[in-house]
């Protein structure tokens, strides 16, 4: 059952098409990987799905309802939470306060928000750092905090933008564990990632973008053997 449908979405800036006629669905409960060379339009697609851009053409459907055209905070209310590539927590506040801020979306009181926040921190293995000022966190924990903030809004679907970029191997493993736990909770995930091994190992299906267009869709195995995909990445390596 498809939770999110991207129907023939195009996004034009000035005269240039950042994404052109992209269509795919994300099924409930799955992890969908979104990959492609730099500039392929992945983050633009997230920005459309999340409400920051209104698609020039096409529409985005969530749970059967049209969401393209809604503002990001409205989309979050409906159940889609999103993380950003450049992680910016509330720097001068503690880890706990950071998550409390997000938890207020669903919580009826500060006490309830705090309870949700503590639960979320335990879930993302940040409970011990809850009183640390987030400015002082290492990158791996900052990225987990970003995920925690998104989780505190009790989403049905999570859009993760390069949550694994720049992590060392142990941080990577911790994050992968958390993603698996999130999937077990029943939350659907769409994830942009450049780290090939990670994305191949955790995704149920993968969509590949290149120059703003979808060039392939399928299981990690199918994608790994797809000549178009290989060419897209090799082609980039050749011109680099």
């Amino acid at each position: 059952m498809s939770l999110l449908e991207v129907n023939n979405v195009s996004m034009f800036f000035g005269g240039l098409a950042a994404i052109n006629g992209v269509s795919f669905s994300v099924n409930k409960g799955e992890i969908l990987g979104l990959i492609g060379p730099n500039g392929a339009g992945k983050t633009t697609l997230f920005n459309v799905a999340n409400g920051f851009y209104q698609p020039s053409k096409g529409e985005v459907i969530f749970r059967g309802e049209r969401i393209s055209g809604l503002k990001p905070h409205q989309i979050c209310r409906r159940g889609i939470a999103r993380t950003f590539q450049v992680v910016k927590p509330l720097q001068r506040m503690t880890v706990l306060d950071n998550v409390i801020a997000s938890a207020f979306l669903r919580a009826k009181s500060k006490a309830q928000a705090e309870a949700v926040a503590i639960e979320t921190l335990k879930f993302t293995a940040l409970y011990d750092d809850r009183m640390v000022i987030s400015k002082g966190l290492p990158l791996g924990k900052r990225k987990r905090l970003e995920i925690a903030r998104a989780l505190a809004t009790n989403p049905e679907m999570l859009l993760l933008d390069e949550s694994f970029a720049g992590l060392n191997p142990s941080e990577l493993n911790e994050s992968i564990e958390i993603i698996k736990k999130i999937k077990e909770k029943g939350i659907t995930i769409m994830i942009i990632e450049h780290h090939m091994k990670v994305i191949m190992s955790i995704s149920d299906r993968i969509v590949v973008l290149n120059y703003g267009e979808k060039i392939a869709e399928g299981t990690p195995h199918e994608i790994g053997n797809n000549p178009l995909v290989i060419e897209a990445y090799l082609g980039e390596a050749q011109h680099a």
């Binding site: 990001p72 905070h73 979050c76 939470a81 950003f84 509330l90 720097q91 801020a101 928000a113 903030r149």
Partner: protein, 313 residues
């Protein structure tokens, strides 16, 4: 102990006039408390919510003129201006907010500066409404003694302080800071940033407007260059908060003390008098470069500068 600090300070300030202070000192205290109010109001929008307004004189002026015009056109007591300014300034802030809150960072700053100036020029030109450059003079002062004025502004300040504290410690406060740190992330986390910025602006404006209405009643005379002053109100407001410490509860109060003292010191030394803008400018530059989070915010830095506190290696 820390929790009782506000109440202790309030008690001290409430009892101070009973010591029999001179009229001049009372005046200084009243002005300092008024600036605390304006500073705390600005801090809500600028320090906590991150929307740096360069045009708070707009709200001060509308409040001041609400009181003034009530007196001038209807013969009513200008004290009615205080409750009425809440309404007037709230409306004006919604209109201004609708225009400027869609802008970010420095553009917001410039747009708010423009708003303050537009209102100033408008009130200079719409002579039928405001008497233009002639200004409005309140013929009979309500009281000759300064004490009643003192207690009124102190009450306003106390309400402002506790209101700001309550707001910041609530969901609103968290949302304001989230907006300040990263507006896009805040939106993505379900925060209706336009709505909450408007709330911050409206609250900040109304508190400033009440201070303006008080000013009309206390000083007895306003004109566009005074009530909508860019340098003497909008910029001084920013200085009060920046010197004292942005995004702290006590910052604006500390800043108000310093700025008012500084202004008085400068005024009393004849040679320095004309140079007060230079001194303020230099102070602003120094604070921006060395103590950007103000005295309360960068207190640690300040201690190191004067080598107080524990010596670090």
């Amino acid at each position: 102990m820390k929790n009782f600090l506000p109440l202790i300070i309030l008690a001290v300030l409430a009892l101070a006039p009973l010591l029999g202070l001179s009229s001049y000192l009372m005046h200084i205290l009243i002005i300092f408390i008024m600036w605390s109010v304006i500073g705390m109001a600005w801090n809500l929008l600028g320090g906590y919510c991150g929307q740096v307004s360069f045009g708070h004189a707009a709200f001060f002026g509308v409040g001041a003129y609400t009181a003034g015009m009530l007196y001038h056109h209807f013969g009513a007591s200008p004290w009615w201006g205080l409750p009425l300014s809440v309404l007037a300034v709230a409306l004006v802030s919604l209109v201004i907010g609708f225009i400027v809150l869609r802008l970010r960072g420095p553009y917001f700053a410039l747009a708010t500066l423009s708003m303050g100036e537009v209102l100033r020029v408008a009130s200079e030109n719409l002579v039928g409404f405001t008497q233009g450059d002639l200004g409005i003079l309140i013929q009979q002062r309500t009281w000759v003694d300064k004490m009643p004025y003192y207690y009124i502004i102190l009450a306003i300040a106390a309400v402002t302080f506790f209101l700001v504290k309550k707001v910041i410690e609530s969901k609103l406060g968290y949302y304001f800071v989230a907006i300040r740190e990263d507006q896009d992330a805040a939106e993505s986390l379900g925060i209706n940033t336009t709505f909450y910025k408007t709330v911050a602006l409206c609250l900040s404006a109304v508190l400033t407007g009440v201070a303006g209405a008080f000013y009309t009643n206390y000083m007895g005379y306003i004109d566009p260059k005074i009530a909508f002053a860019l340098h003497d109100i909008s910029i001084v407001t920013i200085m009060v908060v920046m010197v004292g410490g942005v995004a702290t509860f006590w910052g604006p109060v500390v800043g108000a003390v310093i700025m008012v003292l500084l202004a008085e010191v400068v005024r009393s030394i004849p040679q320095l008098g004309a140079a007060h803008q230079t001194l303020f400018g230099v102070l602003l530059i120094v604070i921006i470069i060395f103590l950007p989070n103000g005295i309360t915010g960068d207190f640690g830095k300040l201690k190191k500068l004067f080598k107080l506190g524990r010596a670090s290696s």
